[in-house]
């Protein structure tokens, strides 16, 4: 079982390394996580505004960056992963169809 999981993980890593879309998805997810952690740490429970109601510039810049990364991750990560899987499957199907045609010919 351990060997199978290891093999699967190595195959997945190799697939990610070989696919530009998957590499981008991983990078986006990592940026989202990192900025989320940083924003959470910096803003604490106070959010973007000071007790007086004025915007705290440093937290606001990080917050804006985090929200942009969050939107990118929420939309792009599923798209990139689904696109990469679909491309791999379609390529495989196209290859097998090509092989079948050649052997028929």
């Amino acid at each position: 079982m351990k060997v199978a999981v290891g093999k699967l993980a190595r195959a997945a890593l190799a697939w990610i390394r070989g696919s530009r879309a998957l590499r981008l998805a991983v990078i986006l997810a990592a940026i989202d996580l990192l900025l989320g952690w940083g924003f959470s740490w910096m803003s604490g429970s106070r959010g973007l505004v000071s007790p007086g109601g004025s915007v705290r510039a440093d937290v606001a810049v990080l917050g804006a960056a985090y929200i942009l990364a969050r939107i990118a991750a929420r939309f792009a990560v599923p798209a990139l992963v689904a696109g990469a899987i679909a491309a791999a499957l379609t390529e495989r199907v196209a290859r097998s169809i090509g092989r079948a045609r050649r052997s028929n010919a």
Partner: protein
């Protein structure tokens, strides 16, 4: 078309399809639970805000130049009190535990330093020191509404503050009965239908707390809202008006209508329902996400302190406030779409057993607690 082009086309189609399904599902995973009133979820948000009030007490007790006060603080404490009160009404078993917390937040919203912005706007005239006068001071209705809900739910509510609350409500009732437009001023020369909905809500809740009959003033206010404050073409209320003539000083707008629908619900369920129906005619939707357009057709602007930034015609405040009428009046689909947008931009995070929306801060989280739990407060 080459084989490679087919592969790309197929990958793009799958990517679009999966994003259309997965992203709204990801962002809306808690929408059903909020709509159905899952106490585990609302309890976590409430705990975060109760902790905020405890921290605020400690800061208030210490010498500090950066105390939480003014308009934003008034609204924060008011919304915490209203949100907790709605939870106590929805889950009566929590009432005993929440009642002191509701009173604590409501009392803070009623402190003189919280209404300093209004006192300054009226040239130094304090709302509570001029109850016999003609000036509206409608901004203080936000605190009056919170105090009213605390009186409904907390049998130990302090008697001295209840007396002040009685006097404020009597002044509001007299001013509203004297108004030909159903409006009383917030600031000199300026009346906000949203604030007047809060005045009506505060009067109604006072009736629930004390048994006093306010039906005459509430019926008159409801009739005048329909006659003078709702724009018949759009169904939205005008954001800012002249209190005496009822002349519009601003456009019919989503943020005022959404918050007005929430406040009106405390006073008159049918007026609130009409405002909600008008509001949801202005929902913009895209890929399962929803947002409320700020300006009625034919009007435009970049937004202000009421609406927050207006991007692509939709506003942050209108979208957030609209969660309350969506839940209270049973617009489940609209609620889910609005919640997905709230989740995407609000970034909810759970830590140490409490939930908070990262980009909201205290005021955003307080408002979301009140909006996401709206319903039990509706007038019968």
């Amino acid at each position: 078309m080459t084989g490679r082009a087919w592969v790309r086309l197929c990958a793009c189609a799958c990517a679009l399809l999966v994003t259309r399904i997965a992203t709204p599902a990801w962002c809306g995973q808690d929408a059903h639970r909020w709509f159905d009133g899952d106490p585990a979820l609302s309890g976590k948000l409430a705990e975060g805000l109760i902790a905020f009030e405890a921290t605020d007490d400690r800061v208030r007790a210490a010498p500090s130049s950066d105390r939480f006060s003014g308009e934003w603080a008034l609204v924060t404490h008011q919304m915490i009190a209203l949100g907790l009160a709605q939870l106590a009404l929805a889950h009566p078993e929590q009432r005993e535990r929440l009642a002191p917390e509701i009173t604590r937040a409501a009392l803070k919203s009623f402190r003189p330093e919280m209404r300093g912005f209004g006192t300054r706007a009226w040239g130094g005239e304090d709302a509570m020191a001029s109850l016999g006068g003609p000036h509206g001071h409608a901004y203080l209705s936000y605190a009056a509404l919170a105090i009213g809900m605390a009186r409904v739910l907390d049998p130990a509510f302090p008697r001295d503050v209840a007396v002040l609350h009685d006097a404020l409500i009597a002044a509001y009732e007299r001013r509203l009965l004297a108004s030909l437009t159903g409006l009383i001023e917030t600031y000199p020369g300026e009346a906000y239908p949203t604030d007047c909905a809060a005045v009506a809500g505060a009067i109604a809740v006072h009736g629930r707390a004390t048994g006093k009959d306010h039906s005459r003033v509430l019926a008159r206010w409801a009739a005048l809202v329909r006659k003078t404050q709702i724009d018949p073409a759009s169904g939205l209320v005008v954001q800012r008006m002249d209190a005496w003539s009822g002349k519009a000083h601003d456009a019919p707008r989503g943020s005022g209508t959404a918050l007005g629908a929430y406040f009106a619900g405390f006073a008159d369920r049918s007026v609130a329902g009409e405002l909600a129906a008008g509001l949801f005619r202005h929902e913009a939707t895209l890929w399962g996400f929803g947002a409320i357009r700020e300006y009625a057709p034919g009007h435009q602007g970049v937004g202000d302190v009421d609406s927050g930034p207006v991007l692509l015609g939709v506003s942050v405040s209108a979208t957030g406030f609209a969660l309350a009428p969506a839940r209270a009046h049973g617009y489940r689909d609209a609620f889910e779409r609005l919640y997905r947008t709230t989740d995407l931009f609000g970034a909810p995070e759970t830590s140490d057993g409490s939930l908070h929306f990262l980009s909201g801060g205290p005021i955003g989280n307080a408002m979301l607690l009140a909006m996401l739990t709206s319903g039990p407060e509706l007038a019968p």
